[in-house]
């Protein structure tokens, strides 16, 4: 029996300060998340400067709690894994700087992790049977990607959004109908009371790039619909609007995912990222996967949101493959998937 490998993961790319300890890449010993959502709610979205300041305050308390809850000390840790991009540069720098100082002082190897690769890896935490290769839909506030996970840490990008990310569209529509921030869970809840067929919104596609997405047209259609109703003095059923908008997003995401499964003959397909906790999307993808004969995977909502367990997991596979970050590791706000 090989010795267990413990990874301390650190994540601060947006508005969650998080630390976690994961054993052998798969077993979560602790997963501490300090969410700043209430701080940003009054601004209707994440304020980078406020987020960065909060990270400085929380980064060490969160790390300490992660170690305590896992029942380990820093000395037991084999390596430190930290998100170094993509994300808000000021926010990323806090996690990166703290992780570098900590790894240096504790004489532990440091591994830099791509945030989106972390989201994909979140699927490994609860599914011991899931191994590459598989197809994956990554949907969050900042990203909408269709990727093929060829191996651990090896990705090929198949499709991406040309404009807004899916989660961004959720946030903007939620704001427009007065639901507030964060939009994803609020629209999800509101949509349950509405008729998804009430308002036909466009399902945009990108010419010549079937697997790419575009959500800005849909967002504009929703805003136009609201303006039009306002000018005509018509009342808008928010629940119908939320349900119809959500259906338009979910249908496009599902349609392209299903086509990809079919084309590549995937036996396994996963969803990842914050929007992967949307109940309608999960249901729709699950049904589509069943129809295509592929097993469907999605992390529990707690691992869909930004967290450090997923970073520790992705970091574990980087670590055992021999990847090491040096003392000059920097935050890379627009880090590309698969880039090292």
């Amino acid at each position: 029996m090989l010795k267990d490998i413990l990874i301390l993961g650190i994540e601060s790319s947006c508005d969650e300060t998080a630390a976690a300890v994961v054993r052998n890449g798969r077993e979560v010993l602790s997963n501490i998340i300090s969410s700043q959502v209430p701080l940003h709610t009054i601004y209707g979205g994440v304020v980078p400067e406020i987020a960065s300041r909060k990270h400085v305050e929380k980064v060490i308390p969160v790390i300490r709690e992660a170690l305590q809850e896992a029942g380990v000390t820093l000395q037991d840790i084999d390596a430190v894994a930290v998100t170094y991009g993509p994300g808000l540069v000021g926010a990323l720098l806090v996690g990166v700087s703290a992780a570098k100082g900590l790894a240096y002082a504790a004489k532990k190897p440091l591994v830099g992790v791509h945030h989106i690769e972390g989201h994909v890896a979140a699927n490994y935490l609860e599914h011991p049977d899931l191994t590459p290769p598989f197809g994956c839909l990554v949907v969050s506030g900042g990203h909408t990607h269709l990727v093929e996970v060829e191996d651990y840490g090896k990705f090929s990008m198949i499709g991406r959004t040309r404009d807004d990310a899916a989660g961004e569209a959720f946030d903007k529509v939620a704001r427009a109908i007065g639901l507030g921030y964060p939009g994803g869970p609020k629209i999800d809840r509101k949509a349950k009371e509405g008729n998804p067929l009430a308002i036909p919104f466009p399902k945009a596609s990108v010419d010549g790039a079937f697997y790419d997405f575009s959500f800005s047209g849909l967002k504009s259609a929703v805003l136009n619909y609201l303006n039009h109703a306002k000018m005509q003095g018509l009342s808008v059923n928010d629940a119908d609007l939320a349900a119809s908008f959500q259906k338009a997003v979910v249908d496009v995401l599902t349609e392209k995912s299903a086509a990809l499964i079919r084309e590549r003959g995937y036996r396994r397909f996963a969803a990842a990222g914050g929007v992967a906790s949307n109940s309608a999307l999960r249901e729709s993808l699950k049904t589509a996967c069943e129809k295509e004969g592929a097993a469907f995977y999605a992390p529990s909502p707690i691992f869909c949101t930004d967290n450090a367990a997923m970073i520790a997991c992705a970091g574990y596979y980087e670590y055992i493959a021999g990847a090491r970050a040096d003392l000059a590791l920097n935050a890379v706000p627009n880090l590309k998937l698969g880039e090292r």
């Binding site: 960065s52 060490i60 540069v89 720098l93 990166v96 992780a99 100082g101 000059a328």
Partner: protein, 237 residues
């Protein structure tokens, strides 16, 4: 007593090791702001050059601000990371105080300047009474014109010249030369800018006086709220 000093509040990136009464190593650049890539390699270099190890440190003194928000966070987060494993104390050192402390022995009213953007300067007023370091006015953000008036009023009262220093000099020197009404000095190249040696030395003094924070509690001193908060306040929200 071995203290690591870290300075990353603005353009300067600097790391120093203070052993008792001697700065045994110091590494400073006034070049480009890539502090997240440069400071830890600098720390590693000076530790190795002096045959020290992180585990031998007694405290980490860090330039707490004001300054570039991002620069302050890089220094703060790095200091926290370095201090946490050994539960070392962090000594918060006011950035402008450390610049002024670097001019030890000067008889002038010391007025360190850092460009605070938006037509303002981060500055304070300091001086030495023999060996005693005096803080006349703590750091604040003000228009340069107002800071010049305050510095000169104090200089007249004390019958001393004003010495300006700090990395804000290139921005404000012409304006000062044009408007000054008292004898004025400008610090020379080697004492003009932030240095981690001064941060560590002033840190040691503050530590003796009981000033300390920890990796859990230390926070930079930004002096200003975020733009978003300021706008909300302006709107009366």
């Amino acid at each position: 007593m071995l203290i690591l000093g870290i300075e990353s509040a603005s353009l300067t990136a600097s790391a120093a090791l203070l052993q008792d009464d001697t700065v045994i190593a110091e590494y400073t650049t006034n070049f480009k702001k890539t502090h997240s890539q440069t400071i830890l390699p600098m720390i590693d270099e000076i530790l190795r050059m002096t045959e020290k190890d992180c585990g031998m440190l007694d405290a980490v003194a860090v330039s707490e601000g004001p300054g570039s928000f991002t620069g302050l966070r890089i220094g703060a987060s790095l200091a926290k990371g370095l201090a946490f494993p050994g539960d070392l104390p962090i000594i918060p050192v006011p950035t402008l105080d450390a610049i002024a402390y670097g001019a030890f022995g000067s008889d002038a009213v010391l007025c360190p300047l850092m460009d605070a953007r938006r037509m303002e300067v981060y500055s304070g007023l300091y001086g030495f009474n023999g060996e005693e370091f005096v803080v006349y006015e703590k750091a604040a953000a003000r228009p340069m014109k107002e800071q010049l008036e305050r510095a000169e009023a104090l200089a007249k009262e004390l019958g001393k010249p004003v010495m300006y220093l700090g990395d804000g000099l290139p921005v404000f020197e012409a304006e000062i030369r044009k408007n000054r009404t008292v004898p004025t000095l400008f610090a020379p190249a080697h004492t003009r800018c932030q240095r981690a040696g001064s941060v560590a030395a002033l840190g040691a003094k503050l530590f003796e006086e009981g000033v300390r924070a920890s990796a859990l509690s230390f926070e930079p001193v930004y002096l200003r709220k975020s733009q978003a908060e300021q706008e909300r306040e302006r709107k009366g929200l």
